[in-house]
Symmetry: D2
């Protein structure tokens, strides 16, 4: 249907992107304000659009969905006073470039449904790998979809459940769903959180005063002053009311497979994942990388901002001075509406500038978190050489990204991934740098605390983007022609 | 859910209001442009919001829904180029003040649904009298409603039909529906029009080049240069493609009961209803009124603009000069956002001003189309007397409005209708005018061409708002406590 | 400088347009609200933009200027509360199509200047015929103009006056100015009104409670409930404070020459000009026209809405029935932003529709107020013939418009005026109508109450647009090459 | 006059702020696009609003002024195509909180004036210390000011000059002006740059293809790919055309006094000032600080982002590991419109979060660039202690800020400056930290390359904010009661 806000990406930032952040709170005055703050802290998980649903005993359910940053929308009195009540959930969303066309406001979560026992709203982080099949089945049986989102299946499955209360309808629905899902949902009185059996996406529980909150990451607990209680377990569902937290296990138990890329890039460095500081893990990746791939040079420079902790670790392990060789423009956003040709051609120069006086004549190690298509890496290399660097050495804080993610991350098609078609040496030649080294998969596992590295027979994490080993079969994609590694 | 545009009504204009106008066209280039023009011509049937859905072979279905006038939204290139294709339908909507709260954009038609055999959009003029019951049943069975509109039931009933094509699913759906409905709908290739068995609301067929169009009124055919072919019959469904117009009769035949108030006020004076010029009918009402209720006076003045044709007729029959005693501000719209207190108190003076020099010392006959609550009539009388009129005589071009309409017209609750609680003489005293006379029901029937007046055993029109005789039982309302005339 | 809102005129409405309406009030609470209402009543004098300046003892001067209708801007609480205080003036403005490019917000009045003795704001209706020369002189001496408006000269002349108070500075300034001007101005404590020595444009004084107001027309007094006191005399300046109205005569006395076209078209029919009802004058024009140019026909139809009073007069004098043969769409505004090609081609059909059933087979007299370029007249004639009229006779309520106005009216260049190049008979043939007759200049003077018609040696009105006799030499235009009648 | 955009500062970021950045270019196609990019790179010098004026041979001068970031306004095709031509200048502006009320669009530069020899536009960085006196004199002589900006004096002085060309008029004007000014101006054919005799604010010259550009800082040359040619000298004026750069010296020569705070905080780290890398200077400040004020601790953490280079230097000199103890939210902007109470109370937590897992139990050195009122320092200290830090030591990369700046920097009134009323030890106690040390004034001079430190008899820089020694007498402020150091 109608296209509301065609975003332009003037430069390819060449990262994998988490598609969503979710947050919910119950038992506080003006819960929506807390949700807005939580979503602001989770903005790195989705910058395109956001939504909040709240419930108030008198005014019932209210909702607002907006394109743009949380801080530009959900901070104004006039909007926030339309979202009263002690219970609210929210969602921030990243647009999946290319594949499905521009996002429309009707694709922005939370989704809401009116059931015979009352309304419910849900916010979903992850991706349903059998969504196409479910959608076809539901339409055939008379459901009318309002969005192109895979997440909408959940609410239709709930509408058709024969259970007599909403948490049980949600259990029914989620048992039909395959893939990765962390869900925050609400009824008129309950805040609900669920993680899929593998626990691919994060979800944490916090306590704020007499109330409770659920969040994708701990950094969003900090901003509202909530205390971190614990992670929701893989396969666990919590139903939270004023009386406390009830926990159920609706799914068949499985070995967890948390997404290792959350440690590498998606999560914020001040969050705590699996009991580990994300910042410290990333610094440790830099340490491992300096051990695995040392090089003689004058400066260690991060590609800002995501390469910074690993660059610090690399500098500390190697003894080569750390320096800000590339400066980031703080006033840069992601997208432009209808940009001029010149803006479109500027690319990464709109966002990054080389610290010319520092770089000139130096042998520079650039530490970046990942290489996806290699487009940005190439431009950065050119900027560094233009500024007179003597040598450029890339050190990458993740293994080669050779496979797409189907669990809630926006990845290019496989053939666009540089590592899908080239070896490390070929990539070095392609990027025309003096050296290029990725951390090994075992090195990455060591950095996240697995001292013996990766267990090949039963990997401790989901690392499908590096290994091609998918813990949940991507059935919709296979139907569309995607070939698994084994099948190649 | 969230409230998007709370309209303020600074003055009670004290009219009954048609709730919708509908228009569709197939077989022309850029059909949506024609729909926009048609809706502009039908704007008097709904000023609050409008929507258009189009279909293009390459780009599929597109839609745009906006608050405000057609001319302020659906005239810009940038919007209209998002609505390509040779097939489009549209809808303008009036807000039903008070009862259901402010309209939200999701309540704006056309409604769209994706079925297993493809998408369909519908636009509905009228009101479904068993909508509450249908909605309860559909939700119980798993449908998720997106709007508060009664019309959304139709699309959910269609989604659940077992028929294999969309026109047959629409037949299925409409056979479950009670009340008044003229519907314009579209699939990827077909334009569909239906009128309920009583034919309460109008719907006409037009020919434009090799294409066809459907419209609430003929005045919208004129604006696009289409030729008026015929009215859609009560109980008829037409399915129009490039190959022509196919007609079916899905309902059990009944005696038609077209809304007589369309002649009095709703339709535009340049439209043709049932083969009669609306303007001429209204002029004839004035003639009948001059015969039934003559009075000695100096001037016959219309209450602009709707009283004008009847005032002309009254003047011609009585020989009393016609004059513009009240001048209407042409720059007046209907609603204000967040108006100042002073604007709120201005009332009708924002819109009408007395032609003081003309009125002073004169005996004035004011011809208005109807009296609903009497609030505006009273203010107009005060303005006229303030300007120095010697006498004020009201002549009303419709019988006393004593009953609410449940077939797609916004009417106050019965107790708010002046004629529900007062006789003609009591109303005269209440309004403090020198005389007040309504046309008789038989006089009105004569003016629309029924020379013998109304047939009490089988009335030729729906005149429930005057007579309290409802041709379709308003079952939702009865459940909510409304008492029919017989039951009083 | 930057172009803010390029308006598109989808159809040439082929009228002369008054360029401004002005209003001011002192001595009431929240004066700006009254000004907003007054400007709403004067909207017909300028629809493109409006502005209000108010003064409050605590908050000083505040101002707001907006494109669009008064009712869409100056009705909201949030805007109006930024305009506090007991003293305010305002202005509505028509854009002068073509000649000077699109209006910018900085061209919207009132204009404001900070002088050493305090601030002042002025609003001007009319046109300064020596503005170009004044502007050149002022710039040469160091003034910096902010707008392209001729009216800005007044405020710069005031800034350079050596007088010690603002009213005297205004006298100084206006003595340098040639042309037509009605001005409403304000200081921190005074409301000031001035009319040029000829009194070309109207200005009236009203009383509201303990306060006073100034307005272009009396209809704006009615809307706020003010009492009409008197017209400001040609050449008079009034300085109004809480203590009352002081009157001075700063100019050399001259014989008044009020604009006769204000009676024909510009002013609202419910206003009183020179002690005469505008409506009654227009009706009388119709009477004169029926006497001067009778014709045998079936119907007298106005071209809505401006032809209506003359059509009523024509019908009454001729005995031929009055009828609404052309229906006006009430939801039509003047301009579109970036309209589609189709909208652009629609022309007058967007606004007017023929009442086909009424017109068919009839001999129709169409009464219009004026013919400027003849473009709309031609399209209306075609619509009437398409609807099956047997004959079309045009009767025009003003003499042929053969000369441009330089006193505050937007007129096409002389060569675009139909009457500048054709005789009445040639115009009839050009428009292809059965007959075409204009009222004579003497007939028009009789209709405004000059029983002996026009005094050729000392005309009682400014009728330059008909006669080519300009009471003030248009010196800027002559410098640009305009040739006066005598010089031809 | 009317208030257009009241910005709310939800947290006091407690920094001094540069008030402006300026940029101009001549001799390139679509110069305004280059100006937009340049202003984007200078956004840190003014985030509230921006403006661009361009000149095109056919379309003359065009301008656009907008609130908000450059990237949100001056990137769209639709706006930029209204700014054609090979010559353009632009300005970004910071709002001076409190003192003068909210900025209005008419205060946004460049300012434009139409002179008898053609138009000119100017953009000014700095502050005119005798602006009040000049304004009074100009108004007395008939000038009408449009803004509250001190910079508007320049254009009025130019309008009154008797010189026959614009560059000479600008010389005339600037010789009347006292204070700090770097100016970029344009006529129809010339790009002009001027720096005041002391050279307080920066201005550099660049070459781009056959064209030239002027910029506040070199980082804006980098973004458009221009080559850095040289700094404009203090007291120099350059007049640039297609034919090249002409240099004149309109002022009496003086010893330069460049603003030393540009090195500390205002300029971007990737700019080059006086031949020195800003980043390297800041790192060196950290080195000096580590020597002057060593402390035993576990971690050196910057207060992001401005403390980062000095923290790196401190870590390198002290050997204490560098770490990101505080994480900055990248999606934080400066201001909110009408924020909720909760947002207002959040303060710095909206922007910064402590890396709790890292900080816990550690002795932390926090390196910040300055302490102004101390409000933010106190909140950061609390966040760090809440996270469990064992000790908190502040090290500040500038001397105590004890005096306001009157040369184009937004500073609080003197009594609000913490260092104006407290010694270093008192500040430490006030902030309740374990230690607090500022770099010495001599240490700062050493870091900028003056090996012998500050020359007290003839300081090499303007350091009035630290020393209270003002190189230009702030005459307007003295008239308002400001007391110089000597007078205390």
């Amino acid at each position: 249907m109608s296209k509301l806000m065609p975003p332009a990406h003037p430069f390819d930032d060449d990262k994998l992107h988490e598609e969503c952040g979710i947050f919910g709170v119950v038992g506080v005055t003006d819960a929506a304000n807390f949700v807005a703050l939580g979503l602001h802290a989770l903005q790195h998980r989705g910058q395109e659009a956001g939504g909040i649903v709240s419930h108030d005993a008198e005014q019932g359910f209210n909702s607002a969905r907006r394109f743009g940053y949380v801080r530009d929308n959900f901070t104004s009195q006039s909007l926030m006073k339309t979202l009263p009540g002690p219970l609210a959930i929210g969602h921030v969303r990243y647009s999946t470039a290319g594949s499905k066309g521009p996002t429309q406001i009707r694709d922005v979560q939370p989704f809401f449904g009116e059931f015979s026992m009352g309304g419910a709203a849900i916010a979903h982080n992850g991706n349903i790998t059998n969504a196409d099949a479910l959608r076809r089945e539901l339409i055939e049986r008379g459901s009318i979809f309002q969005s192109s989102s895979d997440s909408e299946c959940i609410i239709h499955l709930m509408a058709r459940s024969l259970q007599r209360n909403i948490p049980e309808r949600m259990e029914d629905a989620l048992r039909r769903v395959e893939g990765a899902f962390s869900v925050v949902a609400m009824t008129r009185t309950k805040l609900i959180g669920v993680r899929d059996p593998l626990g691919v996406r994060p979800l944490v529980l916090g306590k704020i005063g007499d109330g409770w909150c659920l969040s994708s990451e701990t950094c969003a607990l900090d901003i509202i002053g909530a205390e971190f209680v614990r992670e929701i377990d893989p396969g666990e569902m919590v139903v939270i009311t004023a009386d406390g937290v009830e926990s159920v296990r609706p799914f068949r138990p499985r070995k967890p497979r948390f997404c290792i890329f959350e440690h590498v890039y998606f999560s914020r460095p001040d969050s705590i994942l699996g009991g580990r500081s994300v910042y410290e893990t990333r610094r440790q990746i830099g340490v491992e990388l300096a051990r695995e791939a040392p090089v003689d040079a004058d400066l260690v420079c991060p590609v800002p901002d995501s390469g910074t902790p690993a660059a610090i670790g690399f500098s500390q392990e190697s003894g080569i001075p750390y320096a800000m060789g590339i400066i980031r423009n703080q006033y840069m956003g992601r997208t432009f509406i209808e940009p001029t040709e010149q803006i479109r051609n500027m690319g990464v120069r709109l966002k990054l500038n080389v610290n010319r006086a520092l770089i000139k004549g130096k042998r520079v190690i650039l530490v970046d978190d990942s290489v996806v298509r290699g487009t940005t890496s190439r431009k950065i290399k050119e900027m560094i050489l233009d500024a007179g660097a003597a040598e450029v050495h890339f050190r990458i804080a993740s293994p080669p990204t050779a496979w797409p993610c189907f669990y809630g991350v926006d990845t290019p098609q496989r053939e666009k991934l540089l590592a899908a078609t080239m070896s490390e040496d070929e990539m070095r030649d392609h990027l025309q740098v003096d050296s290029l080294r990725f951390i090994s998969l075992d090195g990455l596992y060591r950095a996240v605390g697995e001292d013996k590295g990766r267990n090949p027979s039963q990997p401790q994490y989901c690392d499908a983007c590096f290994s091609g080993e998918y813990p949940v079969e991507p059935s919709d994609m296979i139907e569309k022609g995607f070939r698994l590694k084994a099948a190649e």
